[in-house]
């Protein structure tokens, strides 16, 4: 006798079942991953199913563990920037940003104005690139191939901009303690504005193609509903939290860098197509955030001052004064926090990375069960996970 089955029978009104001859039945144990097309990396979900209905979801992580925190204790602060690229490899600029802000906060140094603006421009462009992947792969999870290619087409322009900026297309290692590594190439501002002009029109195309597609809405509305209470309890942040209707954004509500100077809205899930906090809401928050990022980039490009791009008085090997601080930034996936404990030397004594996807994935244990396998795929897709930062 399987207690899980009996529990299910009871919840469905076990009486008519009792009248039937006792059939032996058990839940099907299914490994979704580590190699599976829709887990977005090497994530393994151990699920128990009764037919198409999922009864329990248990994530197994760590397949991509690269000891980032241990490495952080072994190399000096500036050297670690390159490892932050590898956390969320779809948004390395945001990860760079989070880390340098954390170290600078402990050091108590100010960053030149020009560098701050460059940082914001890059971070927002990167957010668009990352959300484009989220948009594309979510479409792919729903069986629509084409949005992915459209997203890659636009992302390509961002990658070209970044390539001209720092030579990298995927991992940039661009932010530096006290500034950024290289100054802007000629014509950078125009290139960025051109892209934004082009991109804002593309958003309508995405909406026509996918967001307001009837099948897509049927597949995502009311699926994987995440309540505000659960989102808070499981530490969900970023678009996942905002999809549940909480207008909270680190950039606006706990500002770092120069985000307090820019005007932008924090889009939230409104439950337009179903319940507040469903997969469609989480998806739509990302689409709307891209428009907001465009607004920020426009303002930042307009306000871009001349001047140095790095704090000049900084030595090559930076020493961080003793102390401990947890600093969070809004990466494309949510709240990316670095807890740095320094002892006055060049190397952090302890470096804990709080990645947004780590907590966002955890909540699948709560909202995954009870839906169909297809819905589980939709829910996982709408959380926009990157295993690089979950496993670190």
């Amino acid at each position: 006798m399987n207690p899980a089955i009996d529990g299910v029978a009871a919840s469905r009104g076990g009486d008519d079942r009792a009248a039937l001859p006792r059939l032996k039945s058990e839940l099907l144990e299914l490994n979704m991953g580590p190699q599976h097309p829709s887990t977005h990396g090497v994530l393994r979900l151990l699920i128990h199913t009764d037919g198409e209905i999922v009864h329990s979801v248990r994530p197994y992580i760590g397949y991509l563990h690269r000891c980032a925190e241990k490495i952080g204790e072994g190399c000096d602060c500036r050297q670690f920037v390159v490892y932050t690229d590898r956390l969320d490899y779809l948004a390395p600029m945001n990860c760079n940003f989070g880390y340098v802000v954390a170290v600078e906060k402990l050091m108590g140094i100010a960053v030149p104005e020009r560098a701050e603006h460059i940082r914001v421009i890059c971070a927002e462009l990167q957010r668009i690139a990352s959300h484009l992947i989220a948009f594309g792969t979510f479409g792919l999870d729903m069986g629509a191939w084409t949005p992915l290619l459209y997203a890659f087409r636009e992302r390509e322009v961002i990658l070209n901009i970044f390539e001209r900026l720092c030579g990298g297309r995927m991992l940039y290692n661009y932010y530096d303690i006290g500034g950024v590594r290289f100054d802007l190439p000629d014509g950078f501002a125009e290139e960025v504005v051109d892209f934004i002009d082009m991109f804002e029109r593309k958003l309508d195309e995405y909406n026509t193609l996918l967001s307001y597609n009837k099948i897509f809405i049927e597949r995502t509305a009311d699926v994987g509903v995440l309540s505000v209470a659960d989102a808070n309890a499981y530490g969900c942040t970023g678009p996942v939290l905002r999809g549940s209707g909480v207008a909270w954004d680190c950039r606006r509500d706990d500002p770092y860098s120069i985000y307090d100077r820019f005007e932008f809205d924090v889009p939230t899930g409104q439950g337009e197509m179903g319940t507040v906090g469903d997969s469609w809401d989480r998806y739509m928050v990302r689409i709307r955030e891209m428009a907001e990022s465009c607004r920020i980039v426009r303002q930042a490009v307009k306000a871009l001052p001349e001047g140095p791009i790095r704090t000049p008085e900084l030595k090559k090997i930076v020493k961080v004064p003793a102390g401990a601080a947890y600093t969070r930034t809004e990466s494309s996936k949510g709240e990316l926090g670095f807890y740095v404990i320094a002892d006055g030397g060049a190397t952090p004594f302890r470096l804990k990375i709080r990645s947004p996807s780590f907590s966002n994935l955890h909540v699948i244990e709560k909202i995954g069960p009870g839906q169909m396998i297809s819905d589980l795929v939709a829910t996982v897709g709408s959380l926009d996970l990157v295993l690089g930062e979950i496993d670190r």
Partner: protein
């Protein structure tokens, strides 16, 4: 087939071959032609699918092999797939695992026999041709179930269960949608059905009356489900079930699934052409095209429409799929059947 038999008789000289032998020769020739057509359409459609997908997704698709727009890409793929190792999972049910792709393939091959490509050009001009086609193409379900079960893979099993449920369900609207046509044509013979549509575009059954047009749409949508393509590709949902019922297949065996998929795709389009779109009849009066080419052109257009749909839409969930079938399509098909009957009584004069 009679022409083919007659051709053989003429070549060999009258009376030199026994009628039995002639029959066999004719049947073999037609089977060969059909198999070649199937292989050719699979090759052409894989290429077309990639190119169309490329255009829809603002990219090129294959461009290198064969110099002109990757025209030789399917051949290169075939060569590659022939060299692949044939893997049979250790715990698979070997007999069924090996048999399944052939059952699937034969199911669609058999149905081809009754398709009239041109006047007289039909392998088996059966009196209940339409019924035979639906019966033969139902074999696909058995092939899918066999492969899913024999693979001993949970994803395959899911795919097979979904596939069986889906195909069995969608056969009903599919069949119901062609019944009004049978009413009009008064025959189940495919050639008769096509002949009944000759003489201008308004004779095509899809355009005879509004109910028939809706029937045509129902048939078209149900046929997409029948061949497991997006938005109804649940048996092989890549993002959910890895590859569904053919997850464990590789090499040539996989190629058979692939072949059967495109053959089926073309088959349902051919049926639609014959049943709803006037077969080899073309709308321009006076012109005399090769009838087979007209027929193929119509079928290819339908295939392109299916490809277009596949690369544009997301996919449904399994319960929504069933909802569409049982609660929308079947009632609508029944309404169309009744409507067509009434329309016939009211407007059509019987000779």
């Amino acid at each position: 087939m009679e022409q083919v038999t007659a051709l053989f008789a003429r070549i060999a000289g009258a009376g030199t071959l026994s009628p039995q032998l002639l029959l066999w020769l004719g049947a073999l020739t037609m089977a060969l032609i059909m198999a070649l057509v199937m292989a050719a359409c699979a090759i052409v459609f894989t290429w077309a699918e990639r190119k169309v997908a490329g255009f829809i997704q603002s990219r090129y698709g294959p461009m290198r092999v064969g110099r002109w727009h990757g025209i030789a890409q399917p051949i290169a793929d075939m060569l590659k797939i022939l060299q692949k190792e044939d893997i049979i999972p250790a715990d698979a049910d070997r007999k069924f695992f090996i048999l399944a792709p052939f059952v699937l393939f034969i199911g669609s091959l058999m149905a081809w026999a009754a398709i009239p490509f041109a006047p007289g050009f039909v392998a088996a001009d059966l009196d209940m041709g339409l019924l035979y086609i639906f019966a033969a193409s139902s074999l696909v379900t058995i092939g899918i179930l066999m492969s899913g079960w024999a693979s001993n893979n949970k994803w395959s099993l899911y795919g097979a269960a979904r596939g069986a449920a889906q195909i069995v369900s969608y056969e009903i609207p599919l069949a119901l949608a062609v019944v009004p046509v049978v009413l009009y044509a008064g025959s189940l013979n495919m050639t008769d059905i096509v002949v009944a549509q000759q003489g201008g575009i308004w004779k095509w059954f899809a355009l005879r009356n509004p109910f028939l047009f809706v029937s045509f749409l129902i048939y078209f949508l149900a046929s997409i489900a029948e061949v497991n393509r997006t938005p109804f590709d649940l048996p092989e949902t890549e993002s959910e079930l890895v590859a569904g019922y053919h997850t464990e297949y590789s090499g040539m065996r996989f190629a058979f699934f692939f072949l059967a998929e495109y053959a089926n795709l073309f088959l349902v389009s051919c049926i639609a052409t014959a049943v709803f779109l006037g077969g080899w009849g073309h709308p321009v009066p006076g012109l005399n095209f090769a009838p087979a080419l007209v027929f193929l052109a119509k079928a290819v257009l339908l295939v392109l429409a299916q490809i277009w749909i596949r690369w544009t839409l997301p996919r449904l969930r399994v319960d929504q799929l069933m909802h569409v079938c049982w609660k929308v399509m079947i009632p609508l098909a029944l309404v169309c059947l009744a409507g067509s009957g009434v329309w016939m009584l009211a407007f059509v004069r019987f000779a």
